[in-house]
């Protein structure tokens, strides 16, 4: 028996005894949480650490993730913005690379590093006041995201994304953590109830009919005028020429 084997065996025995004797705080739940953190760390090492550092401390290419909270991770991975495909002015929404289970594990790992905004649960946004939601959205969000939530341009190639694909959870997370250039709307400025009102406005608006027929991306009178004047007039001119030829 070599010296190394002895060391390994002894370590195994000590570890085993410790594991048996160690106080088990919250029993199974704590254990699954630990497992999730461990699994999340493995996923983090494989998929994220090349930019964000081996311990999420950040680097030249990516910010530190210590203290960003589980909500930020869930938002970035859940909307597919991370992992980044290529470095541009801003990350774009893609099909997520991870399953929700994996995302939860990575979120658990990041959340274990330092406290931060948690993933919201039970978002009963239908209770939100619709009218208040509209007013809040107009006052705080519409400047960038456009009043129908269709998105808009910012400076130097950045843009406020369209909100038509975002889930209520992602909207809530975005307001809480302020991903990329979006400002953070803390609970003191927009309370959780008001956040739900905003979400209700956005979700309700999706199912609204377009009174004029085609919505044209709901981007407003400029798009409508453009279509009317180019497509409409061209069609009429074409029709006139056709009539002139045929009859």
């Amino acid at each position: 028996m070599s010296r190394y084997t002895l060391v390994v065996v002894l370590l195994a025995v000590i570890g085993g005894v410790y594991a048996l004797a160690a106080p088990r705080g919250h029993a199974a739940e704590g254990q699954t949480q630990k497992d999730a953190v461990a699994a999340g760390y493995q996923l983090f090492l494989t998929g994220c650490s090349s930019c964000h550092g081996l311990h999420a401390e950040g680097g030249n290419r990516a910010p530190s993730l210590i203290g960003v909270g589980a909500a930020m991770v869930d938002f970035q991975l859940g909307t597919g913005r991370m992992p980044l495909m290529n470095r541009g002015a801003q990350a774009v929404r893609k099909t997520p690379r991870y399953t929700q289970g994996q995302i939860d594990q990575i979120s658990a790992y990041i959340a274990s590093l330092a406290p931060g905004p948690a993933i919201p649960s039970n978002l009963d946004y239908k209770k939100g006041n619709l009218q208040e939601g509209l007013e809040l959205f107009q006052a705080n969000c519409a400047a960038c995201h456009q009043v129908a939530g269709m998105g808009g341009v910012l400076t130097y190639g950045k843009f406020a994304p369209s909100l038509t694909a975002a889930t209520p959870k992602q909207m809530y997370e975005a307001m809480t953590v302020g991903p990329e250039n979006m400002p953070v709307f803390g609970d003191k400025i927009i309370s959780p109830d008001k956040k739900l009102a905003i979400i209700n406005y956005l979700m309700t608006q999706r199912s609204e009919a377009n009174p004029g027929g085609m919505g044209l991306g709901r981007t407003g009178p400029v798009a409508e005028g453009l279509v009317a004047w180019t497509a409409g007039i061209l069609a009429l001119v074409g029709l006139c020429m056709w009539i002139g030829k045929r009859i």
Binding site: L136, A143, L154, G178, N181, K188, I189, I243
Partner: protein
């Protein structure tokens, strides 16, 4: 040959008396005056005229001078004519149906159904389209199929006036001036010029009466020393810690009542990450921690500058893309704005609430004509930076 008959191009050269008559009829006034003053002129014959511009050199071409006509198939073939008639009738009946559809839609589809009138819009829109299309197509087909086809050549009238007319005008003008005695009657000329010259002055008074002058209002926003910063929406005073890093709030002076009373009052309270703010000279104590307050009204056209980018710390105006660099005293880095956003000096009271140290040191809101170009300490440094 009567003058009513359209003339052919070959008539243009040799000017029969009828054509000359018609030409003179186009200036009836002049002709009449001439006849009154010089009765002998009326008796003048063609050969006696001495003034060269009255020589009949040119006559305006008449309209529709050349017409060729070909019979249509429908005019020759009775069966074809019947078919064409039926087609036109069908178009008019289609129009009737469209009109009926419009009326039907209005009666049977409510504006207040669940679709916000979408069905109504669709039905009356389709009705009107069909109705107008049927009418238009019917008339076009009628003209095209059942009327004789004519190729008409119409010559354009010359763009310039006839030389004789120009000379006559000149003559008339000089004669008029002479009869008025403008060169001789100095007093009349001068008083007329005086009267005409001062006539536009009342416009100045009318413009002045368009509203009360803004007075000092343009210089003040409603902020004053010691007033607390309250959220525009909730009207709650804002404490240190309410804003997370990277967050902002639109604030107003406490007790502002209505934004309309203080249109340049809305101010952005932004919390920058530690160490980001680079205060301009003379403004070192205007911020609290990372909290800076800048007026929200664009200095270009007065739009609310609400687009804050928390990573690049830019404030973007949605109207004309003026971009302000928040950590560097909201210097304009892009767009048409001419001045940085005015900074509101703030402090924190012993209870932790944000308060204003004073009003803005420069006039907030869009620039105006008599805004002093010489700016107080701070803004100039911000411009240079």
């Amino acid at each position: 040959m009567s003058s009513d008959e359209p003339r052919k191009p070959e008539d243009l050269g040799n000017q029969p008396p009828a054509a000359e008559e018609a030409r003179l009829r186009r200036r009836p006034v002049r002709r009449q005056q001439e006849t009154e003053r010089h009765p002998e002129a009326a008796r003048e014959t063609e050969s006696q005229r001495t003034r060269p511009w009255e020589e009949p050199e040119y006559t305006r071409p008449s309209h529709a001078s050349e017409v060729t006509s070909e019979p249509q198939a429908e005019q020759v073939d009775a069966a074809a004519m019947l078919r064409a008639e039926r087609a036109v009738t069908a178009m008019f009946l289609l129009s009737v149906l469209g009109t009926a559809l419009f009326c039907f839609g209005f009666v049977f589809f409510s504006l207040h159904n669940s679709n916000y009138g979408q069905t109504l819009n669709l039905v009356i829109g389709a009705g009107l389209t069909i109705s107008l299309f049927g009418l238009g197509a019917g008339f076009v087909m009628w003209a095209k199929k059942l009327m004789p086809h004519e190729d008409a050549v119409q010559e354009r009238e010359p763009m310039h006036s006839l030389e004789e007319e120009e000379l006559l005008t000149e003559e008339l003008f000089l004669k008029g001036a002479d009869e008025l005695g403008i060169p001789r009657r100095k007093l009349l000329r001068r008083t007329a010029l005086l009267a005409l010259g001062i006539f536009p002055i009342p416009i100045v008074f009318a413009l002045r009466d368009m509203g009360p002058l803004p007075g000092k209002k343009l210089y003040h926003s409603g902020w004053r020393k010691g007033v607390r910063l309250v959220d525009l929406d909730t009207q709650q005073p804002i404490k240190v810690g309410d804003l997370p890093v990277g967050g902002y709030a639109t604030v107003m002076p406490e007790g502002f009542g209505s934004v309309n009373e203080f249109p340049t009052g809305p101010t952005m309270l932004i919390r920058l990450p530690p160490g980001v703010n680079q205060p301009a000279k003379g403004r070192e104590d205007w911020a609290v921690g990372g909290h800076v307050a800048y007026n929200k009204i664009c200095t270009h056209a007065g739009c609310p500058v609400g687009l804050y980018e928390q990573q690049t710390h830019h404030l973007l105006c949605p109207c004309h893309q003026s971009t302000f660099d928040v950590p560097r005293a909201c210097k304009v880095i892009f767009g048409p704005a001419g001045h940085p956003l005015p900074q509101l000096p703030i402090y924190v009271d012993k209870d932790g609430y944000f308060r204003a140290q004073s009003d803005f040191h420069v006039p907030p809101g869009p620039s105006f004509f008599w805004r002093k170009s010489k700016t107080p300490a701070g803004e100039q440094e911000a411009k240079k930076a």
